[in-house]
């Protein structure tokens, strides 16, 4: 562990190094929001609507107020001037509903916050909330985006009768011509169902206001502490420099903690009102209802192709279920699907339309993959359907249409520039690992015996490392500060906010290699706005590609300075920094890192034009996104008697550019694949016609468990990106993006002898059994 000697024995980048954050996580000693206790702290409980749509006739808080231990009860009227929940996305003509902290006059979804009770402990707070009497006048609700757009549907927001929040259109190339000249046109409606992110830790907030110095401390389980600070400070009219946001240990986010939520604003407001620290911890039930959901797409695809399999045009209409309100990115998510709709293919002609529909449901927003899983699922299903139509092998049609190696940087029909790639490599590698030709032969035999065996492919591409600032709502750069302490130990302060991705380890690896120190000499700190430079946060597979690059450049500056001090001490002009020391390249004499650090702070003597101390900060603006890619291959068997799907083999080949730590990359892929398989086979947020979330607990919402996972055979190809000097592309979302189409393609392939061409997720046994039994009767 930590030593006082600075040592360096091996190159760190590229090694399977265990995560340095894990000991505190697995020994239960990490500090999450709910572990924070403050003297005099009060607890808040929120009363939420049981109705999806209702007028509030009256609210009687008298009984709650009278309860012993209750300090305050607030309703919508009280918080009317406290601001509204912000939406960061802008689209032409976007209708943005005013998102009050607490409902005023009406509720728009089950779980809509109606009142908040603040009490001496969480039990009294909850008891108090139960004593509030709300007289609702329920109305018809609409919980399905297609129904919401139908004439005569209940208007979620009375002022917008058509439930349309926005429409969006994009075109590239000449789609009309492509379709006019097509040999085949394949059409399909494809649903990417609503999902519930379900991080292990629910959300939670502690707000602590100090009136005397006008300062706020806000502890919140977030992926983007600086964004929360800017937004909440602005909403409440507070000074940003006196507003500290801390993301302590965060137990997962998956995109659902990028947003600034009503509770963050509300708790800060309450702490100011009551002049006390206040805590709110989201229950699991609230998490199901009140933290954002993901996906919620109904896609209508049309593909134009030539007889030889060349895909010449794609038309896509997306109906996006937005929910009742917007959170930070809600309306922007489907636009990411449009950007990635060509997948890895050269297709020059595209046309996309989005209709954003309001429903009486939880807002949708970024969930692992955010827009790209939908796009990948769509195009990868469609490519299989075109292959089936043309009686081509699904591998062949992909290989034929991939962007070719010599075409990079490749401008897409949607206006992106793909950075680098060798798209056929992962697919070929997956096929080789699987023994693809042999599997196909086996499948022929299996089919002769009436067995339902499927082989599914997916070649996915993603847009990562968000991103160039003009294309990212709050800026897309990242920051890093590196300090060498007088002892020689190194502290890295990063603007990203990891919550499971392992950057405390990978950033220490980068730092160790650049400065020539050991991994235990480096400490990576993050998530406290009073400590780290302003940063954007962790999402969109950006942390290493953007934050790591900022760190890399800060390290170059610092390295130069360390070398100056080393050269001074060695009285040399030509030195190398490595292995915990600085060495004179001519004489071979060296001085230890520790001594250099001490000298820089003691400052008895300074190199020319050099100030004391060892600290460097760098802000880095990426010139482009990165575009990781890969291929999954899945072999499934479907049981004729029950419709059960079993995954016989799962092969995941990822190309995320250079690999800093294969262990962490594998971990990210495994977790991602688990979530992708979850969507393909089990997960779905189901609302009934009245807007009740009927999969509102783990009893009914099928989160994949460890024992339900197949063995994942993972592999990699490495195509560095030219976008950043580390050559890294990002891997946080890859597994999720590749998994759902690979699994569904496999099962559709299994059922294809029954005439099945497409299946919508989740592929529940009953759904498959119905098709099988109908097919075998036919």
């Amino acid at each position: 562990m930590a030593t006082t000697t600075i040592t360096k024995t091996e190159k760190l980048v590229g090694k399977r190094i265990r995560r340095r954050e894990d000991p505190r996580l697995i020994t239960g000693t990490a500090t999450y929001v709910d572990d924070i206790k403050m003297p005099g702290m009060l607890y808040a409980a929120i009363l939420r609507s049981p109705h999806a749509a209702a007028k509030i006739r009256s609210i009687d808080i008298s009984k709650a107020k009278a309860l012993k231990g209750v300090h305050a009860v607030f309703v919508g009227e009280d918080t009317k001037n406290a601001g509204a929940v912000p939406c960061g996305a802008s689209l032409p003509g976007l209708r943005v509903p005013h998102h009050n902290l607490l409902a005023i006059d009406r509720v728009y979804l089950v779980g809509h916050p109606v009142a908040v009770v603040v009490a001496t402990d969480r039990y009294v707070a909850r008891d108090g909330a139960e004593l509030i009497e709300v007289d609702y006048e329920p109305e018809a609700a609409v919980a399905d985006p297609e129904k919401a757009l139908a004439p005569g549907a209940h208007a979620v927001h009375p002022q917008w009768a058509d439930n349309v929040a926005f429409t969006f259109h994009q075109e590239g190339g000449d789609v009309a011509k492509a379709f006019a000249e097509a040999d085949v046109i394949v059409k399909q409606r494809i649903v990417s169902q609503r999902l519930i992110p379900n991080s292990m830790e629910t959300r939670g907030v502690v707000a602590d206001w100090h009136a005397a110095d006008r300062s706020m401390n806000l502890f919140t389980s977030t992926q983007a502490p600086h964004l929360v600070r800017s937004l909440v400070a602005q909403i409440l009219g507070l000074e940003e420099n006196r507003f500290r946001v801390v993301a302590p240990e965060v137990g997962g986010g998956f995109g659902a903690k990028i947003q600034t939520y009503a509770e963050e604003i509300l708790l800060a407001w309450i702490s100011m009102k009551l002049q006390k620290p206040v805590k709110w911890i989201e229950s699991r039930r609230e998490n199901f209802l009140c933290t954002i959901h993901g996906r919620g797409h109904v896609d209508f695809y049309e593909i134009a192709a030539k007889r030889d399999g060349t895909i010449t045009g794609i038309k896509l209409k997306i109906i996006q279920d937005l929910g009742a309100y917007f959170t930070v990115l809600t309306p922007a998510i489907p636009t990411l699907s449009v950007l990635m709709m060509p997948g890895l293919y050269r297709t020059p002609n595209i046309q996309a339309d989005i209709v954003g529909a309001f429903t009486n449901c939880t807002p949708t927003d970024a969930y692992r993959g955010a827009g790209r899983p939908e796009a990948t699922h769509g195009i990868e299903r469609m490519v299989d359907m075109v292959a089936a139509e043309l009686k081509m092998d699904p591998a062949e049609i992909r290989l034929k249409n991939f962007v070719r190696n010599e075409e990079f940087p490749f401008p897409t029909a949607t206006g992106l520039v793909y950075d680098s790639g060798d798209y056929s490599a992962p697919l070929k590698k997956a096929m080789e690992m699987a023994g693809y030709d042999q599997l196909r032969k086996e499948q022929v035999e299996a089919r002769k015996q009436g067995k339902l065996m499927g082989i599914g492919l997916c070649a996915y591409g993603e847009i990562c490392a968000f991103g160039p600032s003009p294309a990212t709502p709050a800026g897309g750069w990242e920051s890093a500060t590196v300090k060498i302490e007088p002892s020689g130990q190194v502290t890295v302060l990063t603007g990203i906010s990891p919550h499971g991705q392992g950057e405390e380890t990978t950033f220490a690896q980068i730092t160790g290699d650049e400065l020539g120190v050991g991994i235990d000499d480096v400490l990576v700190l993050h998530g406290d706005t009073s400590l780290v430079p302003y940063g954007i946060g962790t999402f969109g597979s950006r942390s290493t590609a953007v934050g790591g690059t900022a760190l890399y450049y800060a390290l170059q500056d610092l390295k130069a300075k360390v070398k100056k001090f080393g050269a001074m001490l060695l009285e040399s002009e030509d030195v190398t920094l490595a292995n915990g020391q600085c060495t004179d390249n001519k004489t071979g004499k060296s001085v230890g890192f520790k001594e250099i650090a001490a000298a820089a702070y003691r400052a008895m003597k300074l190199p020319p034009n050099t100030e004391p101390g060892l600290l460097a900060t760098h802000f880095w603006e990426p010139p482009n996104f990165t575009f990781p890619f890969g291929a999954h291959l899945v072999v499934t068997d479907v049981d004729r008697d029950t419709g059960n799907v079993s995954i016989r083999r799962y092969i995941a080949i990822d190309d995320c550019g250079n690999i800093l730590n294969p262990l962490i990359v594998d971990g990210q892929v495994h977790g991602g694949v688990a979530q992708g398989i979850g969507q393909a086979l089990w997960e779905q947020a189901v609302y009934d016609d009245n807007g009740q979330l009927v999969t509102g607990e783990f009893m009914d919402y099928t989160m994949p468990r460890a024992h339900m996972m197949p063995w994942i055979e993972s592999g990699h190809t490495v195509t560095p990106t030219p976008v950043n000097p580390l050559g890294v592309k990002g891997v946080g979302e890859a597994g999720t993006i590749g998994a759902s189409p690979a699994v569904v393609n496999s099962v559709v392939d299994a059922l294809s002898p029954l005439g099945v061409k497409h299946l919508d997720m989740p592929l529940t046994p009953e759904k498959l059994w119905k098709l099988i039994s109908a097919g075998s009767n036919a």
């Binding site: 039930r285 009914d700 919402y701 099928t702 039994s773």
Partner: protein
């Protein structure tokens, strides 16, 4: 957990517990069904009597040619009991299907039986075993058959103030084979359907067939028509199919998000066939 306020007692003797229960308190065993309800405030008992400290309720022993299982024996106790594994393997096998390790370490047979969840696993086995359930109140003790005990969804023969004291299962001699098959609902882990089979053969003839079914309808039940159809036969593959088809016949099957009535009935036949074949194959 943020439940409503409640009083908690943890008596060391059964009499003390029964006294408190007679005053309207509610028993707490493993808490695996009760605590989640309290957490959601769907249940708000005023007084909980923890049965966990009562030594006299936690046993698995052979007595008078049968095996007696005390109410607070956990699912883990049941599945790992050498006595049960040797002499009543069906119950141990069934226990292994319940929930996950944590649930099996906490949940108890008394709690499961008293709760009478229509998708719980034990009731299928207890029906097939023609188990007896001993109910004890402050002033009474009575024994009822599993068949009479499970009345309806979450409804049993328990009267207010009574607890399940023990469950009695038979010891089957040689010539008996058993098996439990379960289709689990992947979110909750409960049974979409579960079929427990106990068959005995003399020579080539099935002399006894008992089939308990859970998850299919409002309560666990015995498929008596199917049992009759098997008795006196040899248990050939064709007979198994025919018998399995009878198991769900005439049952008003449940339907929910996870399985329609039609699918449940179909699965019942499929898994009944598996359970029958396995049980017959296990006859020593």
């Amino acid at each position: 957990m943020i439940p409503q306020q409640f009083e908690y007692s943890a008596p060391k003797t059964l009499d003390e517990a029964l006294g408190l229960l007679a005053e309207g308190a509610k028993p707490l065993a493993g808490g695996m069904s009760l605590i989640p309800m309290m957490k959601l405030r769907l249940a708000s008992p005023e007084h909980l009597v923890d049965l966990g400290r009562i030594k006299d309720l936690n046993y698995i022993r052979e007595e008078g040619g049968a095996i007696h299982i005390g109410a607070t024996a956990t699912h883990q106790d049941v599945l790992s009991s050498p006595l049960l594994r040797g002499k009543c393997p069906l119950l141990a096998e069934t226990a292994a299907h319940i929930g996950d390790v944590q649930v099996r370490n906490m949940g108890t047979i008394g709690g499961s039986v008293a709760h009478a969840d229509p998708s719980a696993d034990y009731p299928a086995a207890l029906q097939a075993l023609e188990a007896k359930i001993v109910l004890k109140g402050a002033k009474s003790e009575r024994t009822v058959s599993a068949e009479d005990f499970f009345v309806d969804t979450f409804t049993t023969a328990l009267e207010p103030g009574e607890i399940v004291r023990e469950v009695i299962v038979p010891i089957d001699g040689d010539g008996t084979g058993t098996n439990y098959q379960k289709v689990l609902q992947p979110a909750s882990g409960f049974a979409i359907v579960g079929v427990a089979v106990r068959v005995r053969k003399q020579g080539e003839k099935v002399t006894l067939a008992r089939i308990g079914v859970t998850g299919l309808s409002n309560r666990a039940f015995r498929a008596k028509e199917a049992e009759k159809a098997l008795e006196g036969r040899s248990g050939s593959p064709a007979e198994i199919q025919a018998v399995a088809a009878l198991v769900g016949q005439g049952i008003d099957a449940n339907s929910d998000l996870h399985a329609s009535a039609e699918y449940r009935l179909h699965l019942t036949a499929v898994y009944a066939a598996k359970a029958l074949a396995t049980a017959l194959g296990r006859i020593a």
